[in-house]
Symmetry: D2
Subunit: 290 residues, 4 copies
């Protein structure tokens, strides 16, 4: 069962300093261009001098023509209010690359949700520093590229990956348990477009071996955190978090298994929201209009 796609729907995301008249100006502009607003969400950090964020979904008849008109003429409005903005068409399916290592649970969850039509995305390529998951990936008809990474080859590996991403016209990257740290340059080139799944309820258990630490601390809930990657390790803007209940009977292996199950749930939600342009980033936090 695939979700029906509305072929004349667009999304506009804007952020700017809060000031009177923005909503009126933007909605009036869209109305003039023939748009029918079907959903609109907004958020102000503070009506007096704070930041303003809005996400609008609208339908356009004669889509192609009117969409380019909106694209051409919105900058005038944007300039007037000092708006940062992004205009997306539902006709254009985003292209997602996945980076994986050896663990397959996040990869498979996303592949299943993609094939079942839950995730409206194209997945042209999976890149890995190990060969382990090649067969699975290729069985889905997706290209698998093995790019080993060592201290010496790291820079070369990243530039190879970057070329591939360019060749495949990739819009965003999901690190589905990819066990390598990306360089600041690489991260910068996909700012707020790399989603990572961290195997803990951040900010608890930052760093390595979170399940061992969780076992030693005797926690009663196991968590996972999906976040955008920044150059502060484990400190990027959080998109989604989830937890599962555990108890004293869980050894480190059981906690890992619980962890895998909660990781794939949190990651899948974050990816879905990113695909549907429901996430805005401001400083180190996200606004999720879901």
């Amino acid at each position: 069962m695939k979700r029906t796609k509305t072929l004349n729907r667009a999304r506009l995301l804007i952020s700017c300093s809060d000031q009177p008249g923005i909503v009126a100006a933007v909605s009036d502009f869209l109305h003039q261009k023939g748009a029918n607003i079907v959903q609109s969400d907004q958020y102000s950090t503070d009506p007096e001098g704070g930041m303003f964020f809005m996400r609008i979904e609208f339908d356009l008849s004669s889509f192609n023509e009117r969409f380019s008109t909106v694209e051409k003429e919105f900058p005038a409005i944007a300039e007037r209010f000092g708006i940062s903005w992004r205009l997306e068409s539902e006709r254009k399916t985003k292209k997602m690359a996945m980076f994986v290592s050896k663990e397959d649970h996040c990869l498979l969850e996303l592949l299943w949700r993609w094939r079942s039509g839950e995730l409206d995305v194209e997945i042209p390529v999976v890149i890995s520093n190990h060969e382990d998951l090649r067969d699975i990936v290729e069985s889905y008809g997706i290209s698998f590229h093995y790019i080993p990474v060592s201290k010496e080859t790291k820079q070369k590996a990243e530039s190879d990956a970057a070329s591939l991403l360019k060749d495949y016209h990739i819009d965003f990257i999901v690190l589905a348990r990819y066990m390598q740290i990306l360089s600041p340059d690489f991260v910068k080139s996909f700012e707020h477009r790399i989603i990572n799944i961290h195997h803990s309820f951040l900010p608890a258990f930052i760093g390595a071996n979170p399940y061992k630490k969780a076992f030693e601390r005797g926690v009663k809930l196991i968590g996972a955190t999906a976040h955008y990657v920044t150059n502060d390790l484990d400190e990027g803007p959080i998109i989604e978090q989830e937890v599962l209940r555990v108890n004293h009977r869980y050894d480190t292996d059981d906690l890992k298994i619980a962890g895998r199950n909660v990781e794939k749930i949190a990651l899948a939600r974050a990816v879905e929201w990113h695909i549907n342009d429901k996430v805005l980033v401001y400083k180190n936090k996200t606004i999720v209009f879901n």
Copy 2:
């Protein structure tokens, strides 16, 4: 800790057939009247010929004067689009009455949230068909009225209650485990303004003794449902539902205790949303903008 109240904030709730230009017209109107929109949520059942719902929070300087202007001039817009609407000022605190019988858990949860400042509401009166909870209620400085109900006196009891509600200028009623069924006339006079807590995860276990039934059925989760009262018993629009995990060790008493804890959580959320005008009713369902 009380939430700070914004004294120049208003809320506009509208519903109408979906049609292009509504958002633009409404936001332009508000802008003209000096409003700064701080939050806006909308929902369309279907952009083609469906229903449209919107909730707007906005700030007004020179509040009193401008608020009356909005109140006077919005009807022209409303008429143009066939809009049903409601305008609320945060300055005007709603007046809530509670109807109770003998159980105190929902009553106390709401009293605590009221006194702690979580619920921005006035509670001038509690009405009960039993005397049991008089002392508790009065210890909070709230009037307690005992109105016994029997088959013979039911009509008289309801008209006495109605008088009290009128005297106290009550805006809405919470049935906090009130064990009487209200007459259609009474319900009609407070349409979508009576909130009930039902002790099950509706539509499971409709009717009496839900915990006994839940025990016999061996369920693994216990639920509660807060809904607006209509004349179809247990069938009114659902505002909120919540569940708690249980297991085979729970006897009927344990299930009742779990039930009380989940009832008070679900009811408190529903009441908070109602107070903050976050709930719109359409046919037998709610749109909750939270």
Copy 3:
């Protein structure tokens, strides 16, 4: 990562009328036979004249020899107390068959958990009344048997399935969204060994089209129920239930998608508990020692 399997571990499940001395007799017996009890759970519906249930995990050195001694000599104890019992060895991996139709989400979840080592089970065969899922199943190296079912062929189809289950030495069956009702005879032959996933929070929305009904009722949580199959449709003993939060924006398709995600979680837990002999059935309810 596979869970390490303890090769000298056994499980004993017993149920009988509650009476003093059972625990002492059973644990003393096991101690005499060289067992080291590593976990023990028990439950009494009522210490006075109720039912008693116990699950014991124990380790045996010289496993094979001592396990048969226990098997041979426990009946004497069992007879003394009128105990129904089951003795299981962790060395013997259960054989599970899956019945599917066209939907793959539950099938894939279980296949993934099996391949990842979460589920300690063998899956020699999948049976379906449609060809749709053949490729997926076979890609996991599992036999796929297509047995179409129509009113006329139903009896024949069931006897063909029964033969297959016998040939493959199947211990229990999972109906992973199998869209056919099994006959009383078939159900009887696998009593408390057929697990079904029902796409609602039973007992709400019994029967067909639960998501359509849930949409119409405007529920705020979507549930799923894993239960043993009996001849009362949707009325068998509940093993596990789970819910996911939804809201007014979810149309019937969205509810279905949420439903799929909650179905696979509830089913996977129920299957894991069944595999690990953690579920005892008494009348129409389960005792789950987890």
Copy 4:
């Protein structure tokens, strides 16, 4: 509705190095003394050389007489296996003191659960370093003692508190948002008998101002942790944790309110389990038999 109390029920909690024959010896002993075991839970960290924990509930007829026999004769068994143990009678209701400061949400939750019969406990005294909550406490018929604490008076304050606890024969203490750090000596005198509620999902946001930190980090879940107090601040054995979902619209005040609601839930569960002797502590972790 009060839970019915079983007046001939006792609980035995034991911990020791794991070794064959413990369960048999203990259950045989109890059987000899006329006990009917109604529930039994056990846990081994590792059957080979690990630690063993067991909690047994049993009924005794001629309770008083037989209970003292068990009390007198169990030490022989305990010595044989090197068992640490605790024997509790349901007849003896535990006496709980609460320490509070200015916030009332945890205090009131426990008072309500106590009065409603959910918590089978006596609460003879509440001690506070502020006068704010005197009226509430006294309205429940409970003694309120104001013991102000400053750097200079801290030692004196603690010894005054200790005297009161002795006078009231207090069994355990709940820090219901008590904003003072107890001295090592005081903590030692109530080892594993002081329960604190920490306003975060430990180990995240250790220390002061967790809600401010949570706001700045942009978390999507707010947690609370109930734990036994040790001299490592916020590092004592965790008894229970719970979370509530939040989003970008929550400011620091909203997070505090969500936090209060999750704190009282986690604390109430921990207190209930402690009262019912369901918690065993081993090193820095808890075994909760619930």
